[in-house]
Subunit: 208 residues, 4 copies
DNA sequence: GATGAATGAGTCTTCATTCAT
DNA sequence: GATGAATGAAGACTCATTCAT
C-alpha cells in the first residue's frame, strides 16, 4: 500500500529482564489496541500502559509497525499450536465426529481473547503483517485438504483442495460472524449441530 | 471503541454545481482509499485528487470519517438494489437453480469495484459505520430465511432462520475469501458448481 | 498592533431596503457577539443570523472589522445622545443634585443593552476602533471639566481638568464594576447615595 | 459565552531542563502577547519566539488558552505578593498617609510591566480567567473593608464594605485609565495629590 | 540500559473573502 | 443586487521518533 518498514525486532532479548519487558510491552499493546482501537494505538500510550519509558520501548521495537507485527505473530502462534495439534489428532476419527471437533475447536479458538482477536481481524489489515494472519488460514487449508484427500474414497467430493477451501471458509466464517454479531449463539449447541450437518451432508457422510 | 464523531453531511447541496462537487469528492475518496488505504486517506489528498479546494470539501463533509461514511452508504445502497431485486426474482425458481443464481449474484456484487469493496470491508470498523454495512447482511439474512421458510416442505432443514444464517455466512465468506485471496477462482465455474453443491446438499435438494 | 484595515462602509445605502439590510446585519452582529463572544463572531455566522447571504453582507461591509466598527459607532452614538443632552441639562442644577443625576444617568446608560455593552467593552479593544469607544469618554471629560470650571468658585478644587479626569474615571468605573460584578447593586439606592457623597465631599459641596 | 477549554498544564516539569522550557515559553508568550495582541498569539509564534519546537510547547500546555492562563496566574501571583504586604504594612499609618501609600503602590503595580498588564487586562475575558484576575480585586476589597472597619470611629462613613467597594474601584480605575490614556500623568505628583484628596475628603480625614 | 524531554513533519480544520451564476 | 459555492492561507495540534542525560 505505502511505505514498507522494517518490522523485525531490533534485538533479541537475552536476559530474562528484557524478555519480561518485551512481554509487558506486548501485553500493553494488546490492551491499548482493544481499548482504543488501532487509531488510538500510539507508541506513547503503549509505553505508558506498559509502565515503561518510550525510550525503552524503542529499545526493543524499531517502530510502531513492529509492535503490532510482534503482537500478531504471538497471537497467531498461540492459535496455531492448539489448532494444528487438534487437526492432526482428529484425522483418524469418524468423519462426522471429526467435523464436529473441528468446529468446536474453531469456536474455542475464537474465545481465547475475543476482543483482541476482533481488533486484530478487523483493524489490522493495514500492517504489512496481515499476511502473517493469513498464514494460519493457509496451513489449515492445506491440512484439511490433506485430510480430505486421504479419505477421499468415503467422501462425495471430487476435488479435495476445492472442498477444503470451501469448508475452511465456511466454518471460519460462520464462527467469526457468530462471534461478531451474535456472541450468544456460540454457546448454542444447535449452531454446532447445524454447522456439522452442513459439512457432513456436503461430504456425503451425514448420518441418516 | 473511542470517541464517535459526527459523520452526517454538513449541508445538502442545492445547486447542480455543488451536487457535482460532492460526487467528485466521493469518487476521489474511493480512489484515494483504494490507492493509499485508510491511513493514506487525508482530507488534503482527497481534495487534491478531486481537483477541489480543501475548503470545498469541508463545506460538505465535517470531517474525514464523514467522507468514508458517505462512501459506504453509497456503496451499500448500490449493492442493495441489485441484490434485493435478484433475491426476490429468484424466489420461484427451482431450488437448485435459485441457489446457483444467488451465488453468481454474490460474485457479481463483489466484482463491481473489488478493490473498493475490499478496502471498505476491511476498514469500515474504524469508521463506526459497521452498522450500516451490516444492514445489507441483515436484509439478506431475513430474505433468505423467508425464502427457506416458504419452501420448508421441500427442504431437509428444521430451522429456516438458523439455516439462513449459515448459508448467508457461507456464501458471502466463500466469495469474499476467493475475491481476496484467489481472484481468479471467481471466474472458475467449478467454484460455483461446488458451492452450489455445498448448499443444495445441505438443503437436501442436490440432483443425484 | 498589526495590519490596519479599512473600516469605512463600502457604500452608503440609498434606498430604504438597503438601510434595512444594514440594520438587520448590525443587529445580527450584536446578537452573535453577545452569544458567542468576539471569537465566535464570524462573518458567516452574522450573515446567517441576519438571514442574509454572505455575499450581501460584503455588499455593505468590506470586511469583518468594518462590521464591529459600525456596531460600536452605533452604540456610542446611541449613548452619546442621551448622555450629552443630560449633561448640559444638568449644568444649572445645584451641584449635589447634578452629581446625583449624572450618576443615575451613567447607570441608565449601562442598562441599555448591558450584555452588548459588556462584550464591546471587554473584547473589542483589538479593533482599531477602540478609539471610537473612548471618544465618548473624551467628550464627557471635557464637558465635565467645563462644568466644573464654570462653577469653580463654589468648589474646593484647584484644577478643573484634573478633577474632571478623576470624577469621570471614578463614576464610570464604579458603575462599570458594579454592572460587571454585582449587577444587583445598580438597583440599590445606597450605592447612588454613597457615590454622590464621594463626589460631593471631594468637591466640597456635601450637605452637612 | 462559549465552550470552555481545559487550561490546566498538561504535565508538571520534573527535571530542571523542562522547568526552564516552561519559563522560556511563558516569557515568549508575554512577549508575543505584547507585540501582536491576543490575535497574533499563535502557538507557532510563541514556540518560535521561545526558540522551542512546537511539540515542546504542547508537552506542557494543552492549548493556546492554557498559555495565557498560566501567564495570568503568574502575573497575578507576582502582584498579589507586593500588594498584600504593603496593604497590611499601611494599616497602622495615619489615614491620609496610608491612602497616599496605597495609591502609590497601585501606580507602582501598574508600572511593573505596563504593556503586559494592559494586554492581560484587556484580553483576559476571552480566556475565561476573569475569575483569577478578579481574585486580587476581591482580596483588596476585603482588606480595605477590614481596614476601614477597624478605624471606623475616625471616618465619616457608614458602611465600610460599600466604601471599600467605592474606593478600590476608584483608585484602580484612576490609575488604570491614566496608565492607558495618559501614561505621563502617572509620574505627575499632582495626580497623586488629587487622588489622595478625593479619598481623604470622602473619608473625612482631609487635612484642612 | 533506562529515561523522558525535545523535535517537527504532517494533518485536520476554520473562516475571511471572492466571484460565477 | 443577491446568492452561495469555492477558495486557500493560516493555525491548532498529534505523535512517531531521536538523543542528551
Amino acid at each position: 500500500m505505502h511505505r514498507q518498514v522494517r518490522t523485525t525486532p531490533r534485538k533479541r532479548p537475552r536476559q530474562q529482564r528484557s524478555k519480561d519487558t518485551v512481554d509487558t510491552i506486548l501485553e500493553a499493546t494488546a490492551r491499548v489496541l482493544v481499548k482504543l482501537g488501532f487509531d488510538g494505538l500510539t507508541t506513547n500510550a503503549v509505553a505508558t500502559a506498559a509502565g515503561v519509558s518510550i525510550g525503552s520501548l524503542y529499545q526493543y521495537f524499531p517502530n510502531k509497525e513492529a509492535l503490532v507485527s510482534a503482537l500478531i505473530e504471538r497471537h497467531v502462534e498461540q492459535m496455531n499450536g492448539a489448532v494444528l495439534a487438534e487437526l492432526s489428532r482428529v484425522a483418524t476419527l469418524p468423519m462426522q465426529e471429526a467435523t464436529r471437533c473441528v468446529i468446536e475447536l474453531t469456536i474455542r479458538a475464537h474465545a481465547v481473547d475475543p476482543a483482541l482477536h476482533r481488533v486484530l481481524t478487523e483493524q489490522v489489515p493495514r500492517v504489512g503483517k496481515l499476511a502473517k494472519l493469513r498464514e494460519l488460514d493457509e496451513i489449515c487449508h492445506r491440512m484439511v485438504a490433506g485430510l480430505l484427500a486421504a479419505r477421499k474414497h468415503e467422501l462425495a467430493i471430487r476435488d479435495p483442495d476445492l472442498a477444503a477451501f470451501l469448508l475452511v471458509s465456511t466454518i471460519e466464517s460462520i464462527v467469526h460472524r457468530a462471534a461478531l454479531l451474535y456472541p450468544d449463539r456460540l454457546r448454542d449447541p444447535r449452531l454446532i449441530d447445524e454447522a456439522t450437518l452442513l459439512v457432513t451432508r456436503y461430504l456425503g457422510v451425514a448420518p441418516n
